[in-house]
Assembly symmetry: C2
Homo-oligomer: 495 residues x 2
């Protein structure tokens, strides 16, 4: 979920300076329109990793807009008055009225994440707190409020560098955080529990935006644009904003193609190295599948990728390692009549392996957010809500001991063109290339966007995506096998 907020996204100062004036003016205008209409309040939640620019961004928003119409609330230690009342009272008393913007720093999410990190309670109680927060947000939205939830993220390394800088800055070193961020463990726990919170609390009426915090220009511009888009849409909508949920990518990005562009597709293996490594990994997989500990687990591997990226070849190399009784390969094509009469996920649930078994999905439940989205086979509301359903589905698998590996096999356009041409030449491969494949190529950019969103919203610690550089088939196959083996070993080790 945080992968694409660790890519080191940057905007140079010149581009920033160029865009800023128009953005500021538009924001200011939207803010006055908000006040004039007086129809709904705006609530901005600020959360995330220490040093990722939370405070700086809030400061900036107050500079960009009219600070008289913004109220910033921090929620540190509870006052006596607050302690004498139900916990939510402190938030209710700080709610911005209609026409105003309220920025909530250290809000309900910070409290629950801190409590979980400090071990005051376990996941079940954390989930209760998340549901409480969602009920509050749902109510606020039903009453017309527009809610933005920002999560500022830094990689561990970036955070350490940043904290060092802050420490050396006498103007800032005094700031105390209730968490000891100097400890490496704190970061890990924060990110782990934070991911659970984000996964469970991102709803269409109040989505999370994960913002990479290392570059100030990128961070500020991203937040500014999201606010502006959301405000303008809500101000224009005649009905209440709640009726018009944000259509928001989980990870705020000025350019969604960055994720795939960041792959080094030149990686390759020569024939000999490939032969050796393949043999090693296949033997490893065979051993692992026969391991006694496999009885407590099942294995599910999902293969998605560009057309002609080599999914079939990779799957064959995996299968070659195994006894056919151990695995089943499920190719996902157009749904059958029976499947069309059921909810979307039904066709996948029916193939979930029993413990000890392995199912390979050749294309999968991600079809809805890939081909169905891009080709317009379903409504935006359908593919937007399926992200949540998928995360929920995969959490259920994981809770039941299923080890889940998900591959996106990526090739570039040149390589795809070459392979298409080859397929047209070779008789027995000709059936693999159709008019449709050529048409899909025209939608390359749309597919990149869809893949970016998919990874942002569904790559979780329990079911991470593995992006496989597949211009070189040999490299890809070994990486696939090794990833499966590593995942199984990790699951066995944590039993």
């Amino acid at each position: 979920m945080f992968e694409s907020a660790e890519l080191g996204r940057k905007i140079d100062q010149a581009a920033y300076d160029k865009e800023l004036p128009a953005l500021r003016e538009a924001l200011l205008e939207a803010q006055f329109e908000l006040q004039q209409q007086g129809r709904f309040p705006v609530i901005i939640l600020i959360n995330g990793v220490e040093g990722a620019g939370k405070g700086e961004t809030v400061k900036l928003l107050n500079e960009w807009m009219d600070p008289r119409l913004i109220q910033v609330s921090t929620f540190d230690v509870q006052t006596d008055e607050e302690l004498a009342r139900p916990p939510a009272w402190r938030f209710w008393r700080q709610l911005p009225p209609k026409g105003r913007i309220g920025i909530f720093f250290g809000n309900w999410y910070s409290q629950m994440i801190q409590g979980r990190i400090h071990g005051h309670f376990k996941d079940a109680v954390l989930d209760q707190a998340i549901d409480g927060a969602l009920a509050l947000e749902q109510m606020l939205c039903d009453e017309g409020a527009l809610i933005f939830k920002f999560w500022f993220h830094l990689s561990k390394k970036q955070m350490k560098t940043r904290l060092k800088e802050l420490q050396d800055d006498p103007q800032r070193a005094w700031r105390l955080s209730p968490l000891d961020w100097q400890q490496s463990k704190t970061y890990d726990k924060f990110v782990r529990h934070g991911e659970r919170v984000l996964r469970r609390s991102s709803r269409d009426f109040a989505p999370w935006y994960v913002v990479e915090g290392s570059d100030e220009c990128y961070r500020s511009l991203t937040v500014g644009r999201i606010l502006l888009d959301g405000l303008q849409a809500a101000l224009k909508a005649k009905s209440r904003p709640a009726a018009q949920p944000h259509v928001a990518p989980m990870v705020a990005s000025l350019d969604n193609r960055i994720l795939l562009d960041s792959l080094d597709l030149t990686q390759s293996l020569d024939k000999d190295a490939y032969k050796d490594m393949l043999a090693v990994e296949q033997a490893r997989l065979a051993m692992l599948m026969r391991d006694k500990r496999m009885r407590r687990h099942a294995l599910v591997a999902v293969f998605e990728g560009n057309d002609a990226a080599g999914k079939g070849g990779a799957i064959r190399r995996v299968a070659a390692a195994l006894d056919p009784r151990q695995y089943r390969i499920v190719p996902i094509a157009a749904p059958t009549e029976e499947e069309r009469a059921q909810p979307y996920l039904w066709r996948f649930w029916r193939h979930i392996p029993a413990r000890g078994k392995f199912t390979v999905f050749d294309r999968s439940w991600y079809g809805r957010v890939l081909v169905e989205r891009v080709e317009g086979f379903c409504q935006p509301s359908d593919w937007l809500r399926v992200y949540g359903e998928i995360n929920d589905f995969e959490e259920q698998l994981s809770n039941a001991g299923v080890v889940l590996v998900k591959f996106w096999l990526a090739i570039d356009q040149d390589e795809q063109f070459k392979r298409f041409k080859e397929r047209e030449q070779i008789a027995f491969k000709r059936f693999k290339i159709t008019e449709e494949d050529w048409r899909n190529r025209d939608k390359w950019d749309a597919y990149c966007d869809a893949v970016g969103d998919m990874v942002d919203r569904t790559s979780t610690s329990i079911a991470p995506w593995t992006l496989v550089e597949a211009n070189d088939k040999r490299f890809a196959r070994v990486k696939v096998l090794r990833t499966i083996n590593d995942a199984l070993e990790k699951a066995f080790a944590s039993d």
Copy 2:
């Protein structure tokens, strides 16, 4: 929540026989239309107290409709195959396809309630399970499914009688339930945890219907009518049923006025008895409010009732017992400008007492489901969703140690007429009677419906409604004071 399902509602056999043929025909017709359209599946969940007619009702539905288009699933002990997969797999494989009806007996709710009763887990894990169920139901509704959730209820006494009958019936005695219903404690736990489940899992897209189970004719007709209404509405709607949530009362009732009609308004106290009892209860309240244990609690009393039912007089008798520094009386009238700029509950949150203090609300957050509903001051969607918000709000108060007592002061129409006339005569009371009061009288029935729904949906074990027979003012005042005292004592005792 179960109060109004313990009133002993009945329908005589003749009325039943008269209505049945038309109902059966309409149900059958709807069922075929469902199949013809093939647009959505229907899922019926059957839960509730043992002996309340769950099995009989399902049997009946199969007789009334075409059983070939109904699939009944029971979920007892998991099979080996089910145990080897994630828990939800067993439900997925039994989902009815579009155009069919699936009846789920012993579904996800039975499992979680049983687990809680047997002490396998605590409330936090129960809440997780409830949220899991809601996520599943939400997804099913998003995919078009129409869901009915029936809870069959019996009072404890009714249940015991019923179990005795069943035991003596050789055809039924063999039936085994995973809970030991013979134990009195089992019933109490079942109802307590059941209430939590119902409170948290009744949503507009999948509401609960509580059906009083003691009278077969009443029970069967109620279920039949609810199904028919829901089916017909969904079949008529062009869009997906999910977009058209049921507008369902939590407690299924053929006549909503029964609750208020069941009160014995002739109860009264003579002057001497009143004087003595009032003195006793006032002294008791004064003592309790000074009790050391009060430091851990706050007290909130809500007064609602018919116009001229004597709320003011009752509140004065409560206040008379206390030091003015201990309590505050908050009269709720039209919202101020500041309050209108905030979510509905904000105006009540601001008056929540600190620990040790007492707030009396003269009218309250129930205004939205009473006067605002009846007078059409807000949209049905607003007052429908506020039931859930109120339950959530009151749960937060209760969790923070607030003792909450809620009174509905009920008088009959004759008594109200008499009091209105009196007020017109007495100079200093004349300001208390306006044209509006006379107009409200015309809406007597609509108010009865609103009160019935309100009590059904918001009388919970943590914040029960007390219906006060107020034709006799003296009787009412003593009952109010005694109820407050009992509630405080109960809270202190369970500390």
